[in-house]
Amino acid sequence: MEKTGLIFFPAFDWAISPTHPEREERLLYTRDQIFEEGVMDLPQIKEFAPRLATLHDIARTHFCVPRVQSQVTEAHLIAAGSTLQMGDSLISKEIKNGFALVRPPGHHAMRVVHGNRGFCSINNEAILVEYLRRRHGIKKVAIVDSDAHHGDGTQDIFYHDPDVLFISFHQDGRTIFPGTGFTHELGGPGAYAKTLNVPLPPGTSDETFLYVVDNLILPVLNDFKPDIIINSAGQDNHYTDPLGSMRFTARAYADFTSKLKPHLAVLEGGYAIESALPYVNLAIILALAGEDYSYVMEPDYWPGRFQESQDRLAQVKKMVDKLLETWENRDKADIQKIFGTGKYYQKKKFIYYDTDYIEEEQFEKVRVCPDCPGYIIIESRGDRGYKQPVRIFAVSVPFQACNACQNEAYEIYDEAKNKKDFDYIYMQDKSTDTCISFDKKKGQEWVTEG
């Protein structure tokens, strides 16, 4: 029998703070529901033990400032490690699909990590993708983010990567954290239209949700033909979520899951811990396992409770048409006209860390190369307000890097070590799986290899 893998790691002894939404209680009622239903005993479900990710697994994906161990707790390593375990079990064909029902979440964590933002420190899905590519030679991956908040961390990490398709639908960024995820955010010059954002108006309900799935997400995926589909399974689009203002139901989440058929789902947000999570998680697990989920229903729901406004639907239909057009014409797009010409494509970013109150100023440069996606140079300054800002310089070499880019990248890294403007210098070479970090003050360099 084809199995659905499940790692349930509720971290009953870990919280950001005792009253923070990301606290011990978050998955308590989900535990009660799935245990009482006997889900772990279903013959097609296989429960796995959590494991720890290595520091190198994280360094392969992030630039943690100053070092990985200063940004992660053991709980983070376990959440990320459990996600990797699901990946290994999928590749070894032990399971046909899997769900890492774990916390803490990760989709707001960007390539550079000065601290925690949007309850996230490290990006579980991104770490998984880089692991699958490095360890198992996976080429093309699609990530579909169904959290009510824009998956800005995941978008940031894969913005210039043509082999990773990132689709996020979420509550319109003008009305919710992190305030991004608009339709014009389409990926960098080397990965145009490999990032797609579907900002939905507050109050959107199931009909529109499933319209987007059927008419945009599925056709695009069908076209992209990824080796693996990952779902960032945030659940705060639910009609009872205290942070979001959407009106999705558990049933719709299950319908979405059975249409998308993700190979791996990873829990993200969702803070209606009583009224939504027990039901949404149960529904998702049953949908992954090919079980009948029609008996799963929130206690305060009745069919027909939410009527979608036709105006809203029409508005979203228009957006979907436009995005689909962009997708279909992605190879005909005039990249130079959109992104300009020159050796580098460059962009200035301001990033706010809401959890840790850090303001980051970032300058990102991507080498425009005809032979590969090009290396990325980042200069970043993290300001905590009460002490000296931390300044870093980082170089990231992609998996697909050409020789010339790789050589150039190392030269730039070596030069940067002598510049006095930076406290820490990093080199992340995904093509050889080598991560180097240099501490200017100590004059010390650390190298890890996978």
């Binding site: 971290a11 209680e25 009622y29 529901q33 239903e37 033990a49 376990i78 009948d292 799963v296 229903m297």
Partner: protein, 560 residues
């Protein structure tokens, strides 16, 4: 002096322990309809010359309940289920009349869907028309609120006062509705058989003038005083394997990590002792493909034993899991692993010439000598067993963990000794141990290890308390109890105190005089409830237990 008696399906084993030593042992056949006679026989054999007043304690273990379940020798049990929303109801089809009625409770014990009286009445009348005298009533989340189950049971009692009704929340307080259904159904089915066993035991004690306390072994290796109220019958299923494991624990030095290999005629039971402590199964016991909530030692039954049949298929020799009778050397129809052992001189059972004949019949077409065949067969059996031993350790390492500290303390452990018990053990144990780099041990008294295990087992008490200060109630999992929280400000310390009070209360209820001052906390979760940015309450999930263990090790004189 202590007595341990294991009432098995075919044999009743008994031992008398005196000052840490085995003073007498007995093995008598179990009468199929007369347990009393075999109990008396066994007692008489071990108590020769010992006055009954000297017996301080008798502990029983039995597989009888398991056998009743396997052979389906029980009256039919009707089911009334209240599953509410969740998993599809197609999962709740059992081989008996099952009525699914409206109503639902949620994880916090709140009623989310009321019962419908007409549906209850219809189900009850229907069941009575079909002549059911036993009914199990089980609701989803009844462990958080038993209101629905009690209401349905009351209707049943009103219509049929003489009916035996069993409610889910009283059988098992752990989460898992499907397992609770099975556990409740089996409890309902076997309660009177259990009474019969209890009565036989009491009669035997009375007839031999034994006035010491009488206990029964549970599947988790703890004991309970023998009485109607104190034990849920299905807790005694699998107390047979638990008994052997405890017996081995008592027969080997303390603190060892070992594998217990009990090789019988058709199956081999494996159990693990990790750093001196028998491993508990992560989930409830499985009784012949039925998943229950019974806490049990992790015992794995491998379908291979001394009487398994061996056949030649083409150019290969295959060991099957079936048994067709005794080994060839004992007059059976087919070659078996026992015949192989006989040829190799690893056992003295049966006729050697017949054993050779069996091996030759297999080997001749393949051009193999009878020694080669015998070697090959023992290796096949050993490989099957070793594979399962590895799988067991792996499964233990892979057990889920829901807390950071649990993940961090995960360790790898490998056995240092392989302990053989059971009839077929002698021949295989040395070879198994050699292959996995362990010391082989076949302890003295191995054939009655189960009775020794019963004799050294100790009472254990556990209390799992879940208190929900926002809802203002708490539950005691082991007692099916649900009560109000009296205090205004109920703290973590209060919860711990309450749990320990319940341990004392339970000890008193069961007449246990054990040391209950020294309890250990095995779970201590605190969940702060925050609603609309305000802390509205806490959920405490606390588990305390008296230390697990045995009275002492055999041979360590003066210990007990």
């Amino acid at each position: 002096m202590y007595i341990g008696i294991d009432v098995g399906g075919t044999c009743t084993d008994a031992v008398l322990l005196d000052n840490g030593l085995v003073r007498a042992t007995a093995k008598v056949p179990t009468g199929s309809n007369d347990i009393l006679t075999s109990l008396l026989n066994a007692l008489d054999q071990i108590m020769k010359g010992v006055p009954a007043e000297l017996i301080d304690r008798v502990v029983f273990s039995t597989t009888l309940i398991t056998n009743f379940i396997v052979e389906r020798k029980y009256d039919p049990v009707g089911l009334i289920l209240i599953p509410g929303p969740g998993l599809s109801h197609v999962h709740y089809r059992y081989k008996t009349d099952t009525y699914i009625i409206s109503g639902a409770i949620d994880y916090r014990g709140r009623e989310i869907m009321p019962l419908r009286f007409d549906e209850i009445e219809n189900a009850v009348v229907d069941l009575l028309n079909k002549d059911y005298k036993k009914v199990a009533v089980v609701g989803k989340f009844s462990v958080r609120n038993n209101k629905h189950e009690i209401e349905v049971a009351e209707v049943l009692k009103k219509y049929c006062p003489e009916c035996h009704v069993e409610m889910g929340h009283q059988v098992s307080g752990r989460l898992s509705f499907p397992r609770r259904v099975v556990s409740t159904m089996l409890t309902c089915a076997t309660r009177d058989k259990y009474s019969y066993f209890m009565d036989s035991v009491k009669e035997a004690m009375a007839r031999r003038g034994i006035t010491g306390s009488v206990f029964i072994l549970k599947a988790d290796g703890g004991t309970m005083p023998l009485g109607k109220e104190t034990c849920v019958p299905i807790e005694t299923i699998f107390s047979g394997p638990a008994a052997s494991t405890l017996g081995v624990q008592a027969l080997i030095p303390p603190g060892e990590t070992s594998v217990v290999v009990d090789i019988g005629g058709t199956t081999t039971d494996l159990a693990l002792i990790l750093s001196g402590q028998p491993l508990l199964a992560a989930r409830g016991a499985t009784v012949y493909d039925q998943l229950t909530q019974v806490r049990a030692l992790a015992v794995k039954s491998v379908p291979v034993g001394g009487d398994s049949i061996v056949e030649r298929v083409g150019k290969e020799i295959v060991v099957y899991s079936e048994r067709l009778g005794a080994p060839f050397c004992l007059g059976g129809p087919m070659p078996t692993p026992t015949d192989a052992l006989r040829v190799l001189g690893l056992t003295s059972v049966g006729n050697e010439d017949k054993a050779r004949e069996a091996m030759e019949s297999l080997g001749k077409p393949l051009g193999m000598s009878c020694y080669d065949v015998a070697n090959h067969i023992t290796n096949l059996v050993i490989d099957i067993i070793i594979k399962e031993i590895d799988a067991m350790f792996l499964q233990w390492e892979q057990e889920p963990a829901y807390r950071v500290w649990e993940v961090l303390q995960k360790r790898k452990e490998r056995p240092r000794i392989v302990v053989g018990v059971g009839g077929g053990a002698a021949g295989f144990i040395t070879k198994i141990a050699a292959k996995i780099g362990c010391y082989p041990v076949i302890p003295p008294y191995a054939p009655v290890a189960n009775a020794i295990g019963a004799a050294v087992a100790l009472p254990t008490l556990q209390v799992s308390l879940r208190a929900d200060t926002e809802q203002g109630y708490y539950t005691i999992e082991e007692e099916g109890f649900q009560g109000q929280i009296a205090k205004e400000r109920f703290t973590e310390e209060d919860a711990l105190t309450l749990a320990n009070d319940w341990i004392k209360k339970r000890a008193k209820k069961y007449g246990l005089t054990m040391n209950i001052e020294k309890t250990e906390v095995t779970r201590r979760d605190v969940f702060t409830m925050v609603r609309n940015w305000v802390t509205t309450g806490r959920i405490y999930d606390i588990c305390v237990q008296t230390p697990r263990g045995i009275m002492g090790h055999i041979g360590s004189r003066g210990d007990f």
